[in-house]
């Protein structure tokens, strides 16, 4: 394969590009994957601690009661919701289900809106 000519600029300023909705789902899929990669080990440790005893559960709940920590949990919930929904959408499209442009646009919006609603409902629970 030939290599690109040296000294030639490339236009690739992402903020100047008007992305379709499917691209936002894809970027969100990656972002949520990174959040889960970082967050899941801590969540597993928290789960282990919460299962030790009633007192440990109460201590953990008190520890995570603050608004900033709750916000972190809301972000993890969004990441899990978006990642699962976008992943299922991806799998279905790989099988040719919903892979026409119109349906792909609808499922992209549905993924973004549903993940946001799940995150918002968890925020309403934890931040209230």
């Amino acid at each position: 394969m030939p290599t690109p000519s040296p000294g030639r600029p490339r236009f690739l300023k992402l903020p100047s590009i008007r992305f379709p909705i499917g691209a936002f789902v894809s970027i969100g899929h990656r972002l949520s994957g990174v959040v889960l990669l970082i967050g899941l080990p801590f969540l597993a440790i928290a789960l282990e601690q919460s299962l030790r005893s009633e007192a440990d559960f109460a201590a953990l709940a008190a520890q995570w009661a603050g608004p900033w920590r709750s916000l972190l949990l809301v972000i993890v919930v969004w990441a899990a919701a978006h990642h699962i929904l976008a992943g299922v959408r991806h799998l279905l499209m790989d099988l040719g289900i919903g892979s026409t442009l119109t349906r792909a646009r609808i499922s992209a919006w549905a993924t973004i809106v549903t993940a946001a609603l799940i995150a918002l409902s968890s925020a309403a629970r934890w931040l209230s």
């Binding site: 394969m1 490339r10 892979s99």
Partner: protein, 231 residues
């Protein structure tokens, strides 16, 4: 009408910059290409490719207000001002709106874009049934303008390894041709983590194809064909 155009002259400029033009369209100027041709009479240093001016040659592909498209098919009445014109994203810029498409065509040549049939040719042409011919619809119309590949994030990050939506659509055009006998070899060539599977089904390609084709559908069919072959 205000137009802001990406300018780069390798003989004069250290780097690219945007240049603003104010130009009044004539009553006959209907498409963006008409206006660019008018601009060229004002500033003859402005460089862009064009040929057929009716969406057949694919020469005037560019990034128009953030989306790839053909200047000759883009109606001036649909454009928001200032109109921002930039070269195809990710492609090396030769000058202004002209990009180097060497890599793009290397991928096209690699998929062997011609009929392969080692059987004895019939006395007249190789015939197809109407159904077999219909399978080529939505595939043969590709004009290789590169709007799709230049709007594909997977192609931006791996232009040397990923064939890209245009090349894969062309590959499927020959895989699905009843007269071609090299489908197995074609599929074997594509069965690669980068060449085919770098596609993440973002569908930017289908969003911007000026001919209304669906490279993402062709890619999906190739993947399913490979799956059927391996099972």
């Amino acid at each position: 009408m205000r137009i802001s155009i990406y300018r780069f002259n390798p003989e004069l400029d250290v780097g690219p910059h945007m240049q603003d033009y104010d130009v009044d369209p004539d009553s006959g100027d209907k498409k963006l290409l008409d206006l660019l041709v008018r601009l060229k009479t004002i500033d003859d240093s402005l460089s862009f490719r064009r040929s057929c001016r009716e969406g057949v040659c694919g020469s005037d592909a560019m990034n128009i207000n953030g989306r790839n498209g053909l200047a000759c098919l883009t109606a001036l009445s649909t454009l928001k001002e200032p109109v921002l014109l930039r070269p195809l994203p990710g492609f090396p810029v030769i000058r202004d709106l002209i990009v180097d498409m060497t890599q793009f065509f290397a991928h096209y040549h690699a998929i062997r874009p011609y009929l392969i049939n080692d059987e004895q040719p019939p006395e007249r042409e190789r015939l197809q049934s109407p159904e077999q011919r219909a399978r080529l619809n939505g595939l043969y119309e590709c004009i290789l303008c590169a709007c799709c590949s230049a709007f594909c994030p997977s192609y931006w990050w791996n232009p040397d390894k990923f064939i890209g939506p245009a090349g894969l659509l062309q590959a499927y055009r020959f895989i699905s041709d009843s007269r071609d006998t090299a489908s197995a070899e074609r599929l074997a060539y594509l069965d690669d983590v980068y060449r085919l599977y770098r596609c993440r089904t973002i569908m930017n390609c289908t969003e911007v194809c000026p001919k209304g084709l669906s490279p993402s559908h062709a890619i999906e069919r190739i993947r399913l064909a490979l799956l059927r072959e391996s099972s």
